[in-house]
Symmetry: C2
Subunit: 668 residues, 2 copies
């Protein structure tokens, strides 16, 4: 046992947040805070003091924040994230003899006891602080403390001595030079991964660039440039492109995933690699690397960041197959093992063999793909099926990338079992796809979003809510018509600080499946070019623009941390709120959605006013940001009626009554 | 990254039980099992295999138990504790290529696919197992596997090859020689502290030996010997004695805790130490060390173990004060700091200064006190106020003692805040006092006992339920009369596998407090001798004997793990059950207590039949072990009526209908 271990009397346990015993960092974005709590206590009746310690990983010294006791031996303090990268935090605590002495002294005085000896004990404690002040180079403080110690011990006026003993300024001065000789330190340093704001708040638009051509022509990046005003006009800030690399010819899939391609079929962009190159090359029909660079720059001018697809797999024609046969599994007949999910065979895809003896070189090469596109200015990657590659690879790869480029965002496309999805989030993915597409009823949405946003999961997993993807056309969208497309869009955009749609299929309400019971699109862009009539009068474009503006204007919708569900007496009506601090008062948004695509639904919502910080006795204005209508509400229970054929949702901004002498606009 | 770390594809997390990230062991007694669960999964679609590894701490190699998959990536296995001391366990898992191959092979065959190459792959996997068998010195198995590989690869009969591929015996053989080259191992080895049965199941009786004298004479160990048949007759197996050491004279407390003692006052046994000696000496009025030895032996003959009190504090006359002034805090006026809880002063007690520079030597000496009594044959210690001494001391002391004497039981007398009590349990105390004395209503009892027995707490904290102690005469006992004494006794003895009473005060229903609002006894034995009329006709002695026999006869009452509460429609009636495996079928005990000491209460209890393993459609017999009455019950809801003036409780043993041709005694 170390020299002082026996005298470290303060116990520190139950530190939160802490993921898997500190094995993984929690996540925050710049400007967010981390509220740290811990159980601290000691033996006997002594008082203790505690500090939250934090630093950026690279810093040598800790910043110290005093912790405040709550109830039941729980203490709390917080830190604010101000910079990208890794931050560390831990907790220290010690028996505070002066604090104990002061508390006891007050009781003795109140009981009218003789305190002569106690005053001498106090003076000793103050002299100890003086010595520590001196050692810390604070000569002035040391002198002051020495003077106070003498006054306490020797002053002629007994009442002045008692007054001095209990003096607040003395206590504050003593707090500055505590005796931390036997302090306990929590045995783990916990980490925060600090990302940029877009990791938390983003609106994604997925689009196949090859479908931007006109007249049946294969689209190019030049064509995509012309689509930018349309996308920016809807208010999206991330444009995600499926793989832009050369597509294999061998075993190329035909339209609607036919096993054999017809001449002219373009193949799946995820069958990566051909004679023209692999993961670092650009499909010749889309243009050149220079065209890509220009597109990236133009997008930036429109406030749009490009997100590329990282799909670690190869078409049989990929140069890797020739150059690195050791990265692929060979079958006894000498052929390379194609992808399978027996009895299904995917002969157009060779998976990497992550058990290869050459795994280190392969890992480096796979990382270099990401590095290559980072070099071209890309900072967002949507990662295809990460759950089919080993977890240690992702932890290493993302960790290495983030060490150099902490601003890179990785979105995990893992539609699989829950623990696997959460593990990927823990080990480094910035955002995660999730089960939102299949959560439709009020109960399902409430349970799932509560799990995502109100449990430990919210510390490490940032959900990105997609009502559709090129692989997912859910049954409700197939049969629910326009009201369902509107409803699911509003749910995604207001339940999720980050969300995305696959367009133009979404805004044009594309809803035909390849076959009954399938979630695949008929004539899916995954296997063929599509030309979209963006000007259609029934497009959801205007609604999307409006909702994205509302998201921009309301900080409440830019976080998931404050999501709360409120009761309604009609289970077709879901009601939830988000709140945020804002200059000039809090921002409160309450959303009510009619989940029934067919019928008008009405009922009473019962707001948890206390959690919204609203006064039960004051009326408040609810301002519908979709229609502009304003209503005066009072108390927790209020009536709502929503017609799916009109607008099936309210997005209310709550405006509190402001005391003002003017008789107009007195809610803010 | 270590050579194979990148290829260790199985993730192991969420291992349970695990206390504070493995910082503390869980607890079991010999014969109990540990059910270990963990989340295990890998990337992709490969199958995995997993083992629970366990060993006694001293063993070099692990025992391996295959884990079984449950749902949602959860796996389970269990181990049985067969020996005292520390046990370790952890989990390993690996991608099982043969299992994957076999699963896929079946799908291919079912789909009618050509499996020629797959058979060759299977043969390769079998040859790998053959090589591992050979390396393990299993030549015979290796030969068999080689033969099977050849048959699979080369046999002329295609249907025989397929049959062989899916053969169960082949699978079992392959399971014996898996490829664990890239196996993952959970990063922590978790510990189980194995105690003897009495740590789990014990009935304590506390008694002041000095009150065993007659005619106002100070009792001796010889007098105590005569009390043994009385105690054993009631069915107690632990006899706990307050400190038996010399008692200080300086500042000795008088009767009823008066500040000054009268001549002849015996003082508090917790004011330890006088000229005659300290913690290793025996109070001369009780007898000699030889008398103590004889008493210990006599007690053993009666099936009773002695428990001594460990109170680490000194009377001013204690030899330590003279011999080791460095172990005590000195005040500026040169006096030694007595115990205080300002404004209260305890001048008869000097606490040890655990911040002393001489702490190591002091720790050793304090431990030597326990070692001394262990040397005399004592194996149970009730530790006084452990929460006023540092946690690291207890962890060290108990750890050191248990290393040599794993059969020692420490009961922590810490009546303080919950996290402190739980920490003491975690760091080594075998049993713990708790809030039972102050949990009286159905809601309070249900909430608290559920916390103690159905949460993680039950892994490390063994509650010992005391309805009274010399310091605790609760208000309900003061005012509730005999029904309350009976009720609280039955609750303690059936809710707790371990419980205790302070007698003869309890069985004689001593109920007068020193003053209104106090929980102290009037004329407390803590400060004076008492003579008890053990033969009083209203003594609870017979009831106590009966309940302790019921506890002995019913394994269900010897554990807390299976405690379940059942609904009643009258909140004055509490209903709970315990179950245990037993030769010839499960042992099920259902207890119903009327919590109202004044009035007859009746109502319906609603048993959770499924949890009791009872058939909803079959009637069953409930046999009241207190009265001998038998009732036939049917279904979950049954009527109960209890009169506090008669017996305010049922202790039912459930007897299931046994199919038998005889027409009598067909429930067992």
């Amino acid at each position: 046992m170390k020299e002082d271990a026996g005298r470290q009397r303060v116990i520190i346990e139950g530190v939160e947040p802490e993921i898997d015993c500190g094995r993984f960092p929690i996540k925050r974005t710049i400007g967010e805070t981390v509220v740290v709590e811990a159980d601290l206590f000691t033996d006997g009746h002594d008082s203790i003091s505690a500090l939250l310690l934090y630093k950026r990983e690279k810093d040598s010294g800790w910043t110290e924040v005093p912790m405040t006791p709550l109830v039941n031996d729980r203490w709390r303090a917080e830190l604010r994230i101000t910079e990208l990268g890794l931050w560390l935090y831990t907790v220290t605590g010690w028996v505070d003899h002066f604090k104990t002495w002061r508390k006891d002294f007050r009781k003795r005085v109140d009981a009218g006891q003789d305190v002569a000896v106690d005053l001498l004990i106090g003076a000793e404690l103050i002299r100890g602080a003086s010595a520590r002040a001196l050692a810390a180079g604070r000569k002035g403080d040391a002198r002051v403390l020495d003077g106070l110690a003498s006054d306490l011990a020797d002053s002629k006026d007994p009442r002045a001595r008692i007054r001095l003993a209990l003096d607040d300024e003395l206590a504050q001065l003593m707090d500055r030079f505590p005796d931390r000789g036997f302090a306990s330190v929590y045995p783990r340093e916990l980490a925060v991964k600090a990302d940029r704001e877009r990791a938390r708040f983003s609106a994604w638009y997925e689009m196949f660039p090859r479908s931007c051509g006109t007249g049946g022509r294969h689209g190019t990046f030049r064509d995509c440039e012309e689509r930018l005003p349309y996308i920016a006009g809807m208010g999206f800030d991330v444009l995600y492109l499926p793989p832009i690399h050369p597509i294999g010819q061998t075993f190329r899939k035909g339209k609607n995933n036919k096993v054999t391609a017809e001449p002219g079929d373009v193949g799946s962009p995820w069958a990566i690699g051909a004679e023209e190159g692999g993961h670092k090359a650009i499909h010749p029909d889309l243009g050149t690397l220079d065209d890509f660079r220009r597109f990236l720059a133009r997008a930036k001018e429109h406030g749009i960041e490009l997100a590329l697809d990282i799909a670690y797999q190869c078409a049989p024609d990929h140069p890797y197959v020739r150059e690195h046969p050791e990265w692929f599994k060979r079958r006894p007949d000498g052929t390379i093992q194609y992808a399978e999910n027996p009895p299904k065979k995917y002969q157009d895809i060779y998976p990497f063999d992550f058990e290869s003896d050459a795994w280190r070189g392969m890992w480096e090469e796979l990382k270099s793909v990401v590095d290559f596109w980072i070099g071209e200015g890309v900072r967002i990657f949507r990662v295809d099926n990460p759950h089919t590659k080993p977890f240690p690879f992702w932890e290493w790869m993302i960790g290495e990338v983030h060490r150099e480029h902490p601003d890179v965002i990785f979105l995990a496309e893992a539609f699989t079992r829950p623990k696997i999805m959460y593990r990927l989030a823990k080990l480094g993915f910035t955002q995660s796809y999730n089960y939102f597409p299949w959560r439709n009823t009020r109960w399902e949405l409430t349970e799932y979003l509560t799990e995502l946003t109100q449990t430990e999961v919210q510390e490490y997993c940032r959900p990105n809510l997609w009502p559709n993807t090129p692989d997912i056309l859910t049954e409700p969208l197939q049969i629910g018509g326009r009201p369902m497309f509107v409803q699911r869009f509003i749910l995604a955009a207001t339940l999720g600080a980050s969300y995305g749609i696959y367009g133009p299929a979404y805004e044009l309400m594309e809803h035909l499946p390849r076959e009954r019971g399938s979630e695949e699109y008929l004539d899916s862009e995954k296997y063929q070019l599509r030309e979209w009539d963006l000007g259609r009068s029934d497009s959801l474009r205007e609604l999307i623009s409006l909702v994205n503006r509302v998201r921009q204007d309301n900080p409440a919708l830019q976080t998931n941390a404050t999501l709360r569900f409120h009761a309604t007496d009609n289970d077709k009506l879901i009601c939830y709120s988000k709140t945020a601090e804002e200059a000039g008062g809090g921002n409160i948004v309450v959303v009510v959605v009619n989940l029934d695509p067919n019928y008008v639904q009405s009922g009473w919502v019962d707001l948890r006013l206390d959690e919204l910080g609203l006064d039960r006795e004051q009326s408040f204005q609810v301002h519908d940001l979709l229609t502009g209508a304003r209503y005066l509400w009072h108390g927790s229970r209020n009536f709502v009626q929503l017609d799916p054929r009109a607008v099936p949702a309210h997005i209310f901004r709550i405006r509190r009554r402001v005391r003002s002498e003017r008789d107009f606009d007195y809610f803010m």
